[in-house]
């Protein structure tokens, strides 16, 4: 490569909003469900049916707009995007072209040690399409409209990113903001967050943009990073060999690590956008906007500062805890139940992280309750159970969210505080291990450990090791 190239990237990010009902009807947005069970005349495009806007969608879209420093369009409208495809029951998608709900925002990202802003061109609301399922037996396609009408926002960035790292940092930032808002769970693998990458390359120092392509079907951060590298190389190769880059939409195949052209600009459809006459313009009043503002949660950056000040946690812990709303919520809920912040943090850092790794799961999937978590910490604090037992019980909480109090009682795991039994066990250990006794008395502190082990074994693990230690020392 003789010249130095710069990659220019802009993203179109679709996010499914976590409203209970769809954007234009009362059907459930729940994921899954037997095909075509979450449907009605509206979301299946039956003749004569009419859309009615779900206000919750507007509120969530505005909340995301505010959190990304956008200007809110106080009088916005929906437009119809006309195109024929069987997953789209009306053969037009209700979207926003002329007056999107949010405009001109920006978010700060940090990548490769540098901070920068990525500008947001607009955020608009639209409806999702249904799902096509191919039936190989009849060689036909079937349509499931359960997803049809699930609310989406599309966040369109300016071409401000220059590397895969920046793209990932931007997506992470959006994901966190949106998760903190409770506006979506933002799962790339389940499709509740989808990113299309617009990419072009140009010689370093050039002011004009190169011809861009749009890459779709990116289902993980890894796929996005790989697709960016791949597309950058492909375009540079074309330029170096004197061939033009064609403006087109490409589809990424993650298993083959390769993208192929879906359609070029020439066969781009004319969507014949026009204002949807079935919907009235949306006016966002001062009062409404204030209400949405007032309901904005504490975002990650604010949380980080507060955790440091209030709980004096190490930066590393704070980073991990606030990296998902789920863990931050769990942390705060457990503290609210009276648990010590540092202890909660330790349990999250050590045992929780270990088990998450073991189960190969994300923090978002943590399913145990703060109640049971707090109870466990209290049982350990009160020395009702010892450390080993506590870890064992925590595993059960982690997997099945059991009530530790009930579990400890049912399984007889409480530390035995019967001094007589403990003394008998210690005396027995001393009697049966003359070698260790001799070593200890000879000055080998370590030898005591073997004796403690024997006692714990005799007590079936239900003794408090520090008490055993103390008692043995006395007896010796």
């Amino acid at each position: 490569m003789s010249k130095a190239y710069e990659t220019v990237i802009g993203l179109e990010v679709h996010v499914e909003l976590a409203t209970k009902t769809k954007i234009f009807c009362g059907c459930s947005t729940a994921f899954g469900g037997a095909p075509n069970t979450h449907t009605c005349p509206v979301c299946t495009g039956m003749p004569g049916s009419l859309p009615v806007l779900n206000k919750g969608v507007v509120e969530k879209a505005v909340a995301v707009g505010l959190a990304t420093n956008c200007t809110i369009t106080r009088n916005c409208k929906f437009d119809r995007k006309n195109y024929f495809y069987p997953d789209n029951p009306q053969n037009y998608q209700i979207s926003q072209l002329y007056y999107p709900i949010c405009r001109d925002g920006k978010v700060e990202i940090e990548a490769e040690g540098k901070k920068k802003f990525v500008r947001i061109h607009e955020i608009h609301m639209e409806e999702d399409a249904g799902k096509l399922v191919h039936d190989p037996y009849t060689d036909s396609s079937l349509v499931d409209f359960n997803r049809s009408g699930v609310p989406l926002i599309e966040i369109v960035s300016e071409p401000d990113m220059r590397s895969a790292e920046e793209v990932i940092a931007y997506l992470e930032k959006l994901r966190l903001i949106i998760q903190y808002l409770g506006a979506s769970d933002c799962k790339l693998n389940e499709g509740s967050m989808r990113a299309d990458v617009n990419l072009s390359v140009r010689e370093v120092g050039s002011e004009t943009f190169g011809t861009r392509t749009e890459t779709k079907n990116l289902n993980s951060f890894k796929a996005i990073a790989r697709a960016i590298e791949n597309e950058r190389e492909r375009q540079i190769d074309l330029i170096e060999s004197g061939e033009p880059v064609i403006q087109e939409t490409r589809r990424w195949d993650d298993t083959k690590e390769y993208s192929y052209a879906m359609r070029s600009k020439e066969d781009a459809q004319d969507y014949r956008y026009f204002p949807d006459p079935d919907l009235v313009p949306i006016h966002i009043s001062d009062e409404w906007l204030e209400e949405i503002k007032a309901a904005q949660p504490e975002f990650r950056d604010e949380k980080k500062l507060r955790y440091k000040e209030e709980y004096e946690l190490p930066d590393y812990d704070i980073d991990i805890i606030t990296n998902t709303k789920r863990m931050a919520d769990l942390f705060e809920e457990t503290i609210a139940l009276g648990a010590n912040p540092k202890k909660v943090s330790n349990w999250l850092m050590v045992e929780t992280m270990r088990l998450m790794k073991e189960h190969q799961m994300d923090a978002d999937a943590l399913a145990f309750s703060a109640e049971n978590f707090a109870k466990l910490i209290k049982l350990a604090d009160d020395k009702v159970i010892n450390g080993t037992v506590a870890k064992e019980v925590f595993e059960k909480i982690f997997t099945d969210d059991i009530d530790p109090e009930v579990y400890v009682k049912e399984h007889g795991l409480a530390t035995v505080n019967d001094e007589g039994a403990l003394k008998t066990a210690c005396e027995e250990a001393i009697r049966n291990n003359p070698k260790a006794v001799e070593d200890y008395r000879g000055g080998k502190e370590k030898a005591l450990g073997a004796l403690v082990g024997q006692v714990m074994k005799a007590m079936k693990g239900k003794a408090d090791p520090s008490s055993v230690n103390k008692l043995l020392k006395e007896l010796l």
Partner: protein, 506 residues
């Protein structure tokens, strides 16, 4: 069925009454007074349809079984005192673009010739709640596109005044069914005159309400920003009564408006003293049939004699209404009709090679010529590069037309004029010259563009004996004003039946 036969037998006396000759209100009163039963009223209509509709072809579907079943239910509720309204037990027909659960709703199109909705349109539900009995679905221009009811997949409807003439359209089946006394009343829909013009051609009365007054939920859309459902009946009283029953805010229709003034029957008062009526000079120009012009002026004189103040004025914008209407309505239609693709319901072509071939063939075979013409026109005016020049400009014209009316209503209570430039045309005359047909909508489309209420009622007859309609337009949500004016005018006239109808049984 045994119960039905028995009832029929017991009330032979009632058979002698000419039920189909009555108005809806009269039938309602007689049912309430137990002079006739609901079954008798319904049976009278079903029999009349069976006997006469072969000639007129007003109906796409006659739901004999369903109507009789409804009649029994309604009678029970009337007897139990649960239904006491004026429409309880009254038979009514519905234009075939309003969904009715379990009943073919075809829009008179091949593409929906097997479409049976899973739900019922809000306006139809309101009628059912009022105790009206749905007799069947009436013929129309395909997807309500047309002014003659000749573009129906189910064949044209004929004008009961002269079967060589069209009944008007697109609610031609509804208007003709009322004129032919197959039913006392019907629902129509009006996007550019589709209630008022056929009412005028068939010598009956029809109201196009203010946009937003009646829920559009379940009305298969043509031009969504213009469509309104309204009544067609033999007099103003019936129209007001039906409109009262179907007008209500509906949260399922975002364009529905929450009003508290739906008590239209309170406006049935024979008093126009001091009412200011404006006649737009620009309506009485070249192209208007002189007999119609005379009849409308005569009507103005009648109202003047009853104490109204009648003046001529310049409305303006009249020549821009037709192009603006055909751009806006066609643009919306091109999008509204995209869902008819052979995938989910309706007609699908028998043989196809792939998805796009299936779309193409299903739609090519399923839609008629007029619908295709408007889809093409609408797609064109929305296409990139033409959108601003046509669609956006048409919306500006629409706003200017509304302004022209707003200005007029600062001065007048009612704007009065003809409904159409001619009386009913000969069958086939419009099919060869669609532009001429479009121009026939000149007096009705501005009212839709401005979203205003309009009423059409008979005011005379031309030298061939064909009915002439009078149109009264009110300010937004001032239906009561035009109902009052129309009612007062109607009191000076006798209801006239087509010869073929009045000679029945003679």
């Amino acid at each position: 069925m045994a119960a039905i036969r028995c009832l029929r037998h017991l009330t032979r006396e009632a058979d002698k009454m000419n039920i189909t000759g009555m108005t809806a209100a009269e039938i309602g009163r007689k049912i309430k007074a137990k002079e006739i039963s609901v079954i008798e009223a319904v049976t009278a209509c079903l029999d009349a349809i069976e006997q006469y509709d072969k000639e007129y072809n007003c109906f796409v579907t006659v739901d004999r079984e369903g109507a009789l079943k409804q009649a029994i239910e309604v009678q029970k509720k009337i007897d139990a005192g649960e239904l006491t309204g004026p429409l309880a037990g009254v038979p009514i027909a519905i234009k075939d673009n309003m969904c009715q659960e379990g009943i073919l709703t075809s829009c008179s199109s091949k593409i929906l010739s097997d479409f049976v909705p899973t739900y019922t349109a809000e306006a139809v539900l309101k009628l059912m709640e009022a105790g009206a009995v749905i007799i069947g679905k009436t013929n129309m221009d395909e997807f309500a596109m047309g002014s003659t009811t000749e573009t129906s997949y189910y064949g044209e409807t004929k004008n009961p005044w002269d079967i060589t003439k069209v009944p008007g359209g697109s609610s031609g089946g509804s208007a003709a069914a009322v004129a032919a006394e197959e039913v006392p009343c019907a629902l129509g829909s009006d996007t550019g005159g589709s209630i008022r013009q056929p009412a005028s051609f068939c010598g009956v009365t029809g109201i196009k309400p203010t946009y937003g007054r009646v829920s559009r939920y379940g009305l298969i859309a043509y031009g969504s920003s213009l469509d309104q459902i309204g009544p067609i009946a033999k007099d103003v009283t019936d129209c007001a009564t039906i409109l009262e029953a179907i007008s209500q805010y509906d949260k399922k229709d975002s364009t529905s408006v929450n009003r508290t003034d739906n008590d239209f029957t309170t406006a049935l008062v024979d008093d126009v003293k001091g009412m200011k009526i404006g006649l737009p000079r620009d309506y009485f120009t070249e192209g208007l049939d002189s007999e119609i012009k005379d009849a409308v002026y005569k009507a103005a004189e009648v109202l003047k004699s009853k104490g109204a103040i009648v003046e001529e004025f310049d409305l303006g914008m009249v020549e821009y209404a037709i192009p603006a209407y055909y751009i806006i309505a066609s643009a919306e239609a091109s999008s509204n009709l995209e869902r008819f693709d052979g995938v989910k319901y309706g007609y699908r072509t028998e043989q196809y090679t792939d998805l796009h071939n299936m779309y193409k063939k299903s739609r090519s075979e399923g839609f008629g010529a007029e619908v295709k013409r408007r889809i093409m026109l609408g797609s064109f005016v929305l296409s990139s590069g033409y959108y601003d020049a046509y669609y956006v400009k048409a919306l500006k014209v629409k706003a200017l037309i509304k302004q022209a009316y707003d200005k007029a209503f600062e001065k007048y209570d009612v704007i009065m004029g003809p409904v159409a430039p001619t009386t009913a045309l000969d069958m086939g005359a419009s099919l060869s010259d669609p532009i001429k047909m479009y121009l026939g909508d000149v007096y009705t489309v501005p009212v839709n563009l401005a979203g205003l209420p309009g009423i059409s009622l008979p005011c005379g007859y031309d030298s061939d004996g064909m009915p002439i309609g009078l149109q009264m337009v009110g300010d937004a949500f001032h239906e009561k004003t035009i109902i009052r004016a129309a009612y007062a005018f109607e009191q000076t006239k006798e209801y006239k039946r087509p010869a073929g109808v009045s000679e029945r049984g003679l």
